[in-house]
Amino acid sequence: MPRWGMVIDLARCVGCYACTIACKVENGTPPGVWYAPVYEREVGSYPTAKRLFLPTLCYHCKNPPCMKACPTKAISKREDGIVLVDREKCCGSRACVAACPYGALTFVDEIKGEFGDELNPWERARYPQDGVGTVHKCTLCSHRIDEGNHEPACVQTCPTHCRIFGDLEDPGSEVSKLIRERNGAQPRPEAGTDPSVYYLR
């Protein structure tokens, strides 16, 4: 069984936010809900100042604290390592939001349109109608994976091949090679969550 994961090559990210937007389009997330935000910061000072970009997503941890904290068992981990929220079971306690060290879950208390309270036809069709009062998070585009060997939308869209998707269990996969050869690092390893996303400097 594969363990789907991602490698993010920070040296390649140019901060175009294409991944963020592709995710919003693919998943129809309502305003204020971002499954794949990119953080940006200026560091240093002239003449050595530089901008850093850090693309993020849910890290689909092997040991997900959100799943443990959820009182309703609405969060589950598939055999392929993808961590999903079943909004039909979520009671909106936000225990998972408190537990996640990566801020990857968003509680949605209302869904409004981007251009006023009223939803336009696209929004009515795409926004999750059962989503109010529940928690939303990145699915690693499990629907695309289940359809057959597609990459998540953020990976497919990235123009610089900064996000690389693959099977962490397969030592011959591109992600495994990159992690091995370039010392891929997981975020906040001290939290003991074993994320399925690695960063390359």
Binding site: Y39, R41, M67, P71, C90, C91, G92, R94, D109, G133
Partner: protein, 311 residues
């Protein structure tokens, strides 16, 4: 824990510690009500602090159940999907909220059944024939079960916070201990307030005051220990401590919790209990100050929580 450096940028954090904003006043009120309610019931079971009787039922038990009921209603009202509350009983193996929700129900059922057997109505006790009435073996079993559930009800909100790996300031067992000691201090404090109207012998009043003083002192020490641990452990927890002591939470924490909610009641309690003969008015004032102090302590600790940067 040693300072954690960002592995991606050799020490520079891209993100700032981010204050949590999903829990606030409702959770504070929920934690407060459940803590005081649970401690009132346990104090009645262990030390016989009844606080009088209404229709034959002890006020401490009734008040404990009402407070825990209110806490439960706040919890349910704060859920995004309140009608799915029973689903929250499904994951006690790993979720403290689930454990607490089960304990709430167990407490309300067993305490309710036990208390109702004491009901006096029109000069009689219509339910005295119930098998668990009074101190029958079944009655004692009901009380033990309810008291155990009450104990869980007091500490589980603290354990919810302490189990969170994401927020370093919360990630300590000192929080459930604070919740425990402040809950019992508040419950004993309520007894001191009720003593203004109840015939309490001076020796018993001094004993209650001594317990109150001890609990307040322990609570104060736990807060000091928490602040010291936060300062010494994790950079993000240190930010939380700074927000409590010097930032936007300074007034409710330093003045509301530490000074008005703990130190002042401690001194008033000491003076009221030992300086002369017990002074019920001063002891009640001491207890009255500790109650909002308890609420504010929870509010400020919850609001001070911030996520550690991970990138």
């Amino acid at each position: 824990m040693a300072a954690v450096t960002n592995p991606f940028t050799a020490g520079t954090w891209i993100m700032e510690p981010k204050p949590q904003n999903f829990w606030g006043v409702p959770h504070t009120s929920w934690f407060f009500a459940m803590g005081v309610g649970g401690a009132l019931f346990i104090n009645r079971v262990l030390f016989g602090i009844e606080l009088g009787r209404i229709l034959g039922m002890t006020v401490a038990d009734l008040l404990g159940m009402i407070l825990i009921g209110i806490g439960g209603l706040i919890l349910i009202g704060d859920l995004g999907k309140p009608l799915r509350v029973l689903r929250a009983l499904l994951n006690p193996r790993t979720s403290w909220i689930s454990v607490g929700a089960i304990a709430d129900f167990v407490f309300l059922i067993f305490a309710g059944l036990w208390v109702i057997a004491d009901l006096e109505w029109q000069g009689g006790r219509p339910l005295a024939g119930l098998p668990w009435a009074g101190n029958s073996p079944l009655g004692i079993a009901f009380q033990v079960i309810a008291a155990a559930a009450a104990f869980i009800v007091i500490v589980y909100p603290g354990l919810v916070l302490a189990a969170s790996p994401s927020i370093p300031f919360w990630n300590t067992t000192l929080i459930p201990l604070q919740f425990l000691s402040f809950a019992f201090a508040s419950a004993v404090g309520l007894a001191l307030i009720f003593a203004l109207w109840l015939p309490v012998p001076p020796a018993l009043l001094t004993a209650w005051a001594s317990a109150e003083i001890l609990l307040l002192a322990v609570t104060l020490l736990l807060f000091v220990a928490h602040l010291l641990q936060g300062t010494a452990s994790h950079a993000t927890a240190k930010v939380a401590v700074t927000r409590l002591l010097k930032g936007e939470l300074h007034v409710p924490f330093v003045w509301g919790t530490l000074i008005a909610g703990l130190l002042l009641p401690l001194f008033l309690g000491l003076y009221g209990a030992y300086a002369a003969s017990p002074a019920p008015g001063l002891l009640a004032l001491s207890a009255l100050l500790a109650l909002p102090g308890n609420w504010l302590s929870k509010y400020t600790v919850i609001k001070a929580g911030n996520y550690a940067p991970f990138l």
